[in-house]
């Protein structure tokens, strides 16, 4: 049956890649991305179902169910699902696949885009920007424009692979997530050392002529960046084990900084 009734062209799939960016257009807590997820596919569902109002209505209703996946990879999922819609697979199968895949895709997407690429690109491009070099934002934009355009590639991939995509995701998603986490964690280690600044002003007077600067003579020589590392790990501990909200920690950081500035330690 498959292949005999193709109605979507390559151009359609490219357009789907662009339209997939409307995923979060009506984001809300009840259904998350369902509204945008459905709307982005509508031009193509209409093309598949033509005058079949009932079929179109059923497809729309299914797609309006809760979904929360990754904006960069959703084109892959849409392409895959539309290839099934096109060959008029059973509705239950289409729906089941959607539910099975959106979570893993969100997992890989978050691991790669938010937790790996963003810290790296932000760290490198900010180091330029902070010196007043416009290369920073230009580099940042170039990377993210490329990532955006890749959405079209993922969409074609999803459409062309069809059901074959499922095995690939299931076997690779954990390994890819793990590799991305390793890269991300390494970079975060570097970010902590480079971009968290705590500089102790206090000195310890040894005698009338000599004073030891805690920062220059002690921390910097024995264990550079130990305070940034310590504070970041404290944040991590409070977030993970004590479930403190990040907003509280931001306030805490400010109060602490102002207090220590007032006493003259920092």
């Amino acid at each position: 049956m498959k292949g005999s009734n193709k109605v979507l062209t390559k151009k359609d799939i490219t357009r789907l890649g662009f339209l997939s960016s409307f995923l979060q257009a009506s984001f809300n807590y009840e259904r998350m991305q369902a509204g945008g997820f459905t709307a982005a596919q509508l031009p193509f569902l209409k093309k598949i179902y033509k005058d079949d109002k009932k079929g179109l209505s059923e497809a729309m209703t299914d797609n309006l169910e809760f979904i929360n996946t990754h904006p960069n990879f959703v084109g892959f999922l849409m392409g895959l699902l539309l290839s099934l819609e096109e060959s008029h697979e059973d509705r239950g199968i289409i729906k089941g696949l959607k539910v099975a895949l959106f979570g893993p895709l969100a997992g890989i997407g978050d691991a790669i885009f938010w937790f790996t690429i963003l810290p790296i690109v932000a760290g490198i491009s900010s180091s330029f920007a902070m010196q007043g070099n416009a290369l920073g934002p230009i580099l940042f934009f170039t990377v993210y424009l490329t990532i955006f355009l890749l959405r079209i590639v993922w969409t074609h991939l999803g459409y062309n692979l069809g059901t074959k995509a499922i095995d690939i995701i299931k076997t690779n998603s954990q390994m890819i997530s793990k590799a991305a986490s390793i890269l991300g964690i390494t970079v975060i280690g570097g970010l902590i050392a480079s971009y968290v600044h705590i500089n102790v002003l206090s000195t310890i007077a040894i005698n009338a002529d000599h004073a030891v600067s805690l920062q220059k003579d002690f921390f910097d020589k024995i264990f550079p960046n130990i305070l940034p590392l310590g504070y970041t790990l404290l944040m991590f501990y409070l977030l993970k084990k004590k479930k403190v909200s990040p907003v509280v920690l931001i306030f805490m950081t400010f109060i602490l900084a102002i207090l220590l500035s007032f006493i003259g330690i920092l």
């Binding site: 490198i124 990532i147 954990q174 890269l183 280690g189 990040p246």
Partner: protein, 264 residues
């Protein structure tokens, strides 16, 4: 001390509308502070301040991401207001980050309010689906996005143009230790973001990689993080092929218990 003119205020509002929609959809990442700060600087005629403020705020916000449908303190208002405050009051951008935070929280809570209230539109969406009314469903999505866009425009115009004198008076009244405190906090703030990143990613087995990244950056003098990223990539590729080998040999031990519910 500078002032924001009406034209600049309107241009900043327009910028906020464009990057606001970009953040809502998470499309081109124009909403990140490094881009917002730079463009705000351009509008104000002070590119240098925009670049520095954008770069600083970007780092402070690197870990505060909307991954998994949570809403972080708003990166747009943070980047934009840090630049505007540094420009109008002449304070150090590091101090300005702290002063911009209340605006960032304000916008965060407005977006959270929309996340809740847009749930009411879903009943309408179901009705459109039942009637196979594709046009109305598209219109609904355009409506929600437009509401968000207009809100960004209004909030930013009020913050940068209407409230600027108040802001200047506030900054002028700040004693030196308070301004210095804000500056210190700006330097420590990235720790919260990095803590957030560790919260979602960190597992005991990854401790060695954190150590490698930290020590490499501490002891190898280099102006940016590229060497650390390359070492991280090498370790990641090594581990990927290692896992693949084990998987092919049928030893699924590494994969076991590594599901999405606990981190990633």
């Amino acid at each position: 001390m500078h002032s924001v003119t009406l034209t600049q205020g309107l241009l900043l509002a327009l910028l906020a509308i464009i990057v606001g929609v970009d953040f809502w959809l998470e499309a081109l990442f124009l909403f990140r502070p490094i881009i917002v700060g730079t463009l705000s600087g351009l509008i104000l005629g002070d590119l240098q301040t925009g670049l520095i403020a954008g770069g600083l705020t970007e780092l402070a916000f690197a870990g505060l991401t909307p991954a998994g449908g949570t809403q972080p303190p708003n990166p747009i208002l943070a980047g934009l207001m840090t630049t505007v405050i540094a420009f109008t009051t002449g304070t150090d951008p590091k101090t300005a980050i702290g002063l911009a935070l209340p605006f960032s929280f304000l916008m965060q809570y407005i977006i959270l309010f929309y996340y809740s209230s847009f749930s009411f539109f879903m009943a309408k969406a179901d009705k459109y689906a039942e009637e196979a009314d594709t046009k109305s469903l598209v219109k609904l999505n355009i409506l929600t996005t437009s509401i968000v866009a207009i809100t960004y425009g209004i909030v930013v115009f009020l913050c940068v143009f209407v409230a600027q004198d108040l802001m200047k008076a506030l900054v002028a009244a700040m004693p030196a230790w308070l301004a210095h405190g804000f500056e210190i906090a700006g330097g420590i703030l990235p720790a919260v973001g990095f803590g957030m990143l560790l919260k979602v990613m960190m597992k005991a087995q990854y401790v060695p990689y954190l150590m490698v990244g930290f020590f490499v950056a501490s002891f190898i003098p280099f102006s940016n993080l590229l060497p650390v990223a390359v070492i991280g990539a090498a370790l990641a590729i090594y581990e990927y092929f290692n896992s693949k080998d084990k998987l092919l040999k049928g030893e699924s031990a590494i994969v076991k218990g590594d599901d999405y519910s606990e981190g990633i």
